[in-house]
Amino acid sequence: MNARYFLRRLLLAVPTLFGVALVVFVLIRVVPGDPVAMMIPPGATPEDIARLRAFYGLDKSIPMQFWLWLQAALTGEFGTSITYKQDVMDLIAERLPVTLELGIVAMLVACLLGGAAGIVSAARQGRWLSTLIDNLAAVVQAIPDFLWGLIFILLFGVALPWLPISGRIDTALSEQAGGGFVLLSSLLHGRWQIVGSDLLYMIAPALALALPVAAMIARVLKASMQEALASDYVRLARLKGLSGVRVLLSEALPNALIPAVSLSAVQFAFLLGGTVLVEKLFSYPGLGNLAISAVVGRDLPLIQAVVLTFAVLFIAINLAVDVLVLLLNPRLRGGSH
């Protein structure tokens, strides 16, 4: 493992994080004019307003305000949500696991669907099945998650009402299920009824998030599989008399995996971004839904915290991707360059 590369990559994330903080600060503090004007209750006296300004540090210079804000943000003090009257960090801590579970399940679905489609399409190259998969993947990829969500709402909400399209879990079970990582904890404790209900409610939103990503994975995996299948070592394996399936899965696949893995990891960040609207569509009580309520309610402390949380998540995922690709690719591992 190239420690120096990793360190460099980690250091590069610092100015990005700083930039993200600056953008959020400018968005929240500078663009809308006076944030206090939006917080004051009707009938507040000028003294009240001045006190509120001083309380939020708004009587100081802009760079000073940024510095104070940054310090607060680093310690996770985003204040109290205006709409929920609750500590902002508590709200985020409550909603983040919901979104993470949904995002990870959706990503697993995308990898399985996309992986299977890509392998089959590469194996049947030139046959009708391969052509069908390729065309299907092009169409599926072109339709974004929001539209898939709408399609599933009509499909499962009206035409074939087999699946729940609203909420996270059966209301009869929600008391018992509690909050946080419900799927994970009930899996660990073997509470299968909760696991089943949780997964059932997850199908529609997770599929909406997964389909475009699955199509993208299928296309990239197919391309790199084709390349691997045309290479000398695969031809050698064939000459040695290994069976077709064996050549495909244990010779070609491992080498074709690197581009697909690095792409899917990058796509994971975009998939998480997609939860904002998809959770809203399916009334899924995660971070994305919280973000929309915050925006609609003009809840500035909550908006900035949610945006920052997503940004930190994105940066962390991208960092993890780089490390993962480094670990997977023997050519980049070891040696200093």
Partner: protein, 299 residues
Amino acid sequence: MAERQSVSTAERLLRDPRVLIGGAICALLLILALFAGWIAPLDPEDQDLGASFEAPLLWGGSDAATADAAIDPDAPRHWLGSDNLGRDVLSRLVHGARTAVIVATVSALLAGVVGTLLGLLAGYFGGRVDALISRIVDVWMSFPPVLLAIVLVSLIGTGLTSVIAAIVIVDWTRFCRVVRAEAQAQTALDYVTSARMLGLPARRILLSEILPNVAPLLITLVTLEMGIAIVVEAMLSFVGLSVASGATTWGGMIGEGRLYINQAPWLMLLPMLAMIVSVLGLNALGDGLRRQLDPVVRR
């Protein structure tokens, strides 16, 4: 090689089914947008509470419409049904196409101009300029695009201009990243080196030497971005943050139709289909153009 060149680009484009189908869909959208006032049978905002929730004629629920016509033979026919306020769905779809085309074209072009300019500068000059622009792109890419657009519109206010502004502010990076890489590759080629040695000013090299070589890529990116812009506008309308209530949008129709999915599913289905067809058409066109215009893919 000689044979390949004898087939003109236009001929090659017209032979690609992707370009043909995608182009036809885009042309249809453009016609709907330009002549919305003439094509739409009724005023899209005209309410008729007596004729709400009429089913489209082919839905099988045309009884209500026939009954209506029996009572009042002059009552307008709603070919694609009517919504909760009795507004004509077909007319609303046509006028929604106008909003979609305006948002898609203007925001894709503006995002393209901003992103291309910054990408060209970063790719050509390299060094500090590149480091600065790349850092900004990194920061931008750290935000979920949809969330950033929603927050921007909620802060600068709703309306056609702010929706376009938000899409441009969020999506210029798509162009910047691609153009930067391409400009970097072009700058390393001989023709740029010789142009530099001739002492041509940087502006001239960028705009009349490098830009034409990036153009095929840009055409593709603009078509794809138009599809993205249509969906983003719909998302914003869906959350209630888009164009003011005066203008008709597909996203707004979907958002309202969502409330009546069991009673009148066509209210959500029809604008959804309009959006899916537009997005697929734009994607097919972009994909076809890329395959036919980009020498690397064509090989």
